[in-house]
Symmetry: none
Subunit: 204 residues, 4 copies
DNA sequence: TATGAATGAGTCTTCATTCAT
DNA sequence: AATGAATGAAGACTCATTCAT
């Protein structure tokens, strides 16, 4: 069985595989894994249903490859760490702009995020992908902060907690879960909390 | 059609309906909504498949009733707010014990939480349930804090953020997502952050 | 099995049976035999589902009893043969008024007629009922005409054909099957045809 | 969803679709729409149940395609209008032969006719099909008669009434509804009536 | 008599996957 | 390498009928 999965070598074949991944991932993001079927994937990719199973073990494999290809740009785009040296005074501003970018990015693909997050909770492989990405993101931020003289002490933990804070906040804002909330003030509170978290880490 | 949904009047029938809800909810928690079928629910409940559809509109209705019956004890058990008056000095201790209880509770039903959280992201009705519960929890905590002389200013926002912080933390610890993390220290950081968040709210 | 069907003796029980027949027949007429179920019948009759099967062998038996009770008034109401002696000159007028009454009657229960006619074609028992009724109707008309000096020769055949003609015409008019048709003229043609059919039968 | 209906391109596939239509239509004709199921259709067609739903939206679609394919030959075969010019003297003979052909044709598929007629009364789509066919038949006959110098005046109405007359007659004869009837004489009466109906239309 | 709870076989339909070409 | 036809098990839901009380 497994041996029938072909890794395409020819350019056209590679493109075809690519198209399937793109189509599958898009469809999953738009409608959810359980609400689409392989025939639809094949159709959107412009290939036959048969060929799908020559490149992929099963439907699930398409999701995973899609996640690996496109998950990054979809879920972790904010981590375009600023090039220029970090100035402590700008800490709030930097975080605020991160939040804004994060929100902006998620707004364009609300359903995508929700559908994929659903999988995170029910599909171990998808979960593993996200755990890894979370960790990588933490590492990138850590490296950046250390370049800017942040103390190493529990930096990963602090970053991880802070990213979670931002994530929660953005989710709340995007899905507007509770309209009794004052979102502007929430942003301030979160920024402030993050500042406090890193207070001891900033070397003078 | 809709009128065929019966609200059982006889005692034994009520128990039977209860059993279906319990069986359905358990099964969903153990295996996930999409991995179980109505026949299994009926079997576990010790009833015929037919009876299921006399008490419930469809499979989904079983989930929702289960959530309404058992969701609270499963997801919001920590909110047994302490009876005795709040002492500022005990703030960290209170939060810590909340976290511990939270973790304890979730550990016994790991999959349950994950399967249900998966639904939160893909099922609007389930999402609505959680949004409501989140808000109610916030309200309970708010009332408690205000009884203990916390200032009203953005209290909801602060509570909500803090609960999110705790939630993230516990999730991280339970699922042990990144074993490079120092969980004890994370707990400390979170507690500290929460303290800071409420700093301005505590009246002297 | 059969022995369990009870013929109610008590007044209240008889009323109950009556209610079931009425409810069942109405429901069938409104929605069609295959689109209703016994639970609905019981509900509309205000009885329990169980009792239905103490008075009737099965769902079909309800239809048949309903047909026997109410079929006549629904399908053969026009055969209120005029009391006063027949005057040859009034032949067209009599037929015309028959047609009008027929149409009037059918208009109020379009679906009823269609649903029952559907059964006539697929259910032998229902078909038998209608054949019998057709024949009875023919007989009534025959008797009437013979009282009025119509010759006996092939009278049944002529009546039967004429009634069919009227039936077709009314159906066409009620369901407005082809709006290119001139219905007033059709009525005239039919009346005229019937006159011709009976021409030889009228004794001078 | 809808897009999953495939129009087969390969020769063998087309044949298979054809087989399903044939099997479905036959089965419906033999046993009635409500008394057969898709599994039976698939079995008789020698295919799997799955393929049925790749060619047809649902069970009902099979009926409709069957009707479109085979309805004509089954219900309107008599309308093989004679090629040779019409001679007024032969009017009775022509009608008589039409009747005989009609009866002959219907005798071979008694149940088919009944089952389909049942649908006409309960299924709007089937009804629409028959209304259309009725009209077309009328048009064909009209054209034929006009070629033979029949006057246009209310010709459609007359034809329609006459066809109804024939239809009733044949139905009576085939199903032998009332064995007290003298069928030979009925035929004569009908022919005579039709002659009378067209009397004014025949130009001298 | 009467209730309404309970049964379970049966129905349509879907879809991941395989196969013949 | 590719097609798209074909499979068939599985799933949600219905309903005439029976049963326990």
């Amino acid at each position: 069985m497994d041996s029938t999965i072909r890794e395409p070598k020819q350019k056209r074949a590679i493109e075809k595989k690519e198209k399937i991944i793109r189509a599958g991932f898009d469809l999953i993001c738009e409608n959810g894994y359980y609400n689409i079927n392989t025939a639809e994937i094949a159709k959107r990719a412009g290939v036959s249903t048969g060929i799908v199973y020559q490149y992929f073990k099963d439907k699930h494999a398409i999701l995973m490859e899609g996640l690996n290809r496109y998950g990054d740009t979809l879920f972790y785009p904010m981590i375009k760490v600023p090039e220029d040296p970090f100035d402590k005074k700008h800490f709030p501003r930097i975080i605020k702009s991160m939040i804004q970018e994060y929100i902006q990015n998620h707004k364009v693909s609300k359903t995508a995020h929700e559908e994929i997050m659903a999988m995170v909770h029910s599909d171990p492989e998808v979960a593993a992908y996200f755990y890894k990405r979370e960790w990588e993101t933490t590492a990138i931020v850590k490296e950046y902060l250390m370049k800017n003289q942040f103390s190493d002490l529990y930096l990963s933990e602090k970053i991880h907690i802070s990213l979670g804070l931002i994530d929660n906040l953005c989710h709340e804002i995007i899905y507007h879960k509770h309209d009794e909330m004052d979102y502007d003030r929430m942003i301030e509170i979160v920024i402030c909390a993050i500042e406090k978290i890193f207070q001891g880490s900033i070397k003078k």
